[in-house]
């Protein structure tokens, strides 16, 4: 199950996000890291230092692309310029699979640059799945969609979030990037049991797992990626790999970024849960 059609039949293990403050350390020290996840949009440019650094990273490491602006749930068709740039980057990185979020963020070409939550309706399932298929057909690469953290729910929703995720990925025949931190954040914001979510998704479609930290406020939790992973999230992770098997796992740390070693060591904690699953 860990190596499946949705992650290009790979078995990457534990990786971390490639972030600018770590460039110098990675290029000079060449630390052993299973793989890096890059934010696609940071490299969908025409030239300069970011692409130069990426090419150096690609000489040494496996890289998987993660997008933040495809907006599968947005009303307009995929932006052709966006797709062309993304495909050029896919050819450059040779990413075995590609991920982006199950969300929307633009309307008629105006962008919010946020990951806005979907109404969980059958209309939204049909629309989103169709767009995922179009993007996959153009890029000719497996796609996995990530569940987002959310702070709002809609009156029109006809199912739970995990039912919606399942309907979309089965209708689009794509993979899941299961973000267990996002599940935890949303469960606290919307009062559901996060284990119901983890137990409710089709495990055979899980291509990758995200872990991360978040910030607690008085009345809600915000997905800030600026803290270590908390124990309840590790428990969800343990359950996720118990169901999905050893799966490519990625720690996201995007703000107040500590040293490379600190981030990498936090990510490697995932291995102890993987070992437990293998032994069991």
């Amino acid at each position: 199950m860990p190596a499946n059609a949705y992650n290009g039949f790979t078995d990457f293990g534990v990786g971390i996000g490639l972030r600018v403050p770590h460039y110098r350390h990675i290029l000079s020290e060449k630390p052993v890291v299973n793989w890096f996840e890059i934010i696609s949009e940071n490299y969908m440019i025409d030239g300069g230092r970011p692409l130069h650094v990426l090419d150096q990273i690609l000489e040494q490491y496996q890289v998987v692309q993660h997008g933040v602006s495809m907006y599968f749930g947005s009303p307009e068709p995929p932006n052709r310029e966006h797709l062309k740039r993304l495909k050029a980057l896919v050819k450059r990185t040779k990413t075995p699979w590609l991920t982006d979020h199950l969300c929307w963020g633009s309307v008629d070409g105006t962008y919010s640059h946020d990951l806005l939550p979907m109404p969980y309706t059958f209309e939204a399932v049909r629309h989103t799945a169709q767009k995922i298929r179009e993007v996959r057909d153009f890029l000719e690469i497996p796609i996995a969609v990530e569940n987002v953290s959310s702070y709002a729910e809609f009156h029109v929703s006809e199912m739970t979030e995990w039912q919606f995720l399942t309907e979309v990925v089965e209708s689009a025949d794509c993979g899941i990037l299961l973000d267990v931190n996002n599940i935890y954040v949303s469960s606290r914001n919307h009062n559901f049991n996060p284990l119901d979510y983890v137990n409710g998704v089709p495990a055979e479609r899980v291509a990758q797992i995200h872990i991360a930290g978040h910030s607690k406020f008085e009345k809600y939790i915000l997905d800030t990626h600026d803290h270590p992973v908390i124990d309840p999230v590790w428990k969800l992770y343990a359950r996720a790999i118990e169901r999905a098997g050893r799966t490519a796992t990625l720690l996201e740390w995007d703000d107040k970024i500590p040293s490379f070693e600190d981030v990498h060591n936090e990510a490697l904690k995932a291995n102890q849960f993987v070992a437990d699953v293998v032994v069991a």
Binding site: G48, Y111, D114, L116, A152
Partner: protein, 307 residues
């Protein structure tokens, strides 16, 4: 029941509405409706937050993210106009010119154009501020703009005595009224990583920047914003060199560009040739010339045949 498109239209409109001065979501929409009613119309409340408060989280995030992006891209403009005026102009700009690109990199692409008709945000230093915006956008373009295969001018001159030359796409030439290059370098040197500094250091940096802004006197400069070894540089050039490069970029051939550069000036032919030759040697070393588009395609097909 609202359909998907209606929900998305309504939510995006609310998310992009400016916050109040104390960073709250506005109680009324632009057309006067109660925002509480609008939010309750499509967003569920929970046991801790009303529909309005849940929508407000996204409204705040939108402005935090986009204002942060502009602050990062235009630290020079912020220093010149001051933090509060900078925030006000960014909010007004984003209302008039919301992002039309999937990438935040392009968020400031229309800022200079917009500011030219909104100079009230730049007073009393509008000229200085406009020069700075042009420089900061050119810096973004030079950082990650396209580069083409390098051209060796001598190779072209060997086959065509009066050729056209193409400049690297990432290169910008700016005719400025103030020495904003020095000012921007000083601002960045003062505050290389504000989040790492103590308040005292930030305060000293702020004072130093304000003094530098106050000292800025008009001075015409001609600047090339370029890239070398993946770092961005500002290079001042003479007016003649600027006119020459501008003519080349416009597609003029070598002799026409030289005539334009020295128009109305008496200069001996030998000296003119020597000057132009010196420019080419310098600029070729900096990688400013690239292979013309048609030759580019020829090279690709040749390399395809070879492989």
């Amino acid at each position: 029941m609202m359909n998907l498109h209606e929900i998305q239209h309504r939510m995006l409109e609310a998310v992009m509405q400016p916050l109040t001065e104390d960073e709250q979501m506005r109680p009324r929409t632009r057309d006067g409706k109660s925002m509480h009613d609008v939010a309750a119309g499509f967003i569920k409340p929970n046991d801790r937050l009303s529909s309005f408060e849940r929508l407000e989280i996204y409204n705040r995030q939108y402005w935090l993210r986009l204002l942060g992006s502009l602050e990062e891209d235009f630290p020079g403009l912020r220093t010149i106009v001051g933090q509060s005026k900078f925030e006000a102009l960014c909010k007004a700009y984003l209302m008039d010119c919301p992002s039309q690109s999937f990438s935040l990199r392009n968020l400031g692409s229309r800022l200079e154009w917009w500011l030219r008709s909104h100079s009230e945000y730049l007073q009393p230093r509008a000229g200085l501020a406009l020069d700075m915006v042009r420089l900061e956008w050119a810096e973004i373009e030079a950082f990650d703009g396209a580069s083409e295969p390098l051209l060796i001018p001598e190779h072209v001159l060997a086959t065509d005595p009066d050729p056209h030359f193409r400049l690297q796409p990432y290169l910008s030439m700016l005719s400025l009224h103030y020495p904003v290059d020095d000012l921007l370098v000083a601002i960045k040197k003062d505050n290389p990583g504000a989040e790492m500094a103590s308040n005292a250091v930030v305060e000293r940096g702020k004072q130093a920047r304000l003094h530098k802004v106050a000292r800025q006197k008009p001075q015409a400069i001609f600047l090339v914003v370029h890239r070398l070894d993946y770092s961005v540089y500002f290079k001042r050039i003479e007016r003649e060199a600027f006119d020459f490069l501008t003519a080349l970029r416009e597609g003029k051939n070598l002799s026409t560009a030289a005539m334009r550069a020295f128009e109305g000036r008496e200069i001996q032919e030998n000296r003119l040739l020597g000057t132009v030759q010196g420019w080419f040697e310098n600029w070729s070393g900096l990688g400013w010339f690239c292979v013309p588009k048609s030759t580019d395609q020829d090279l690709i097909s040749v390399s395809g045949r070879q492989s």
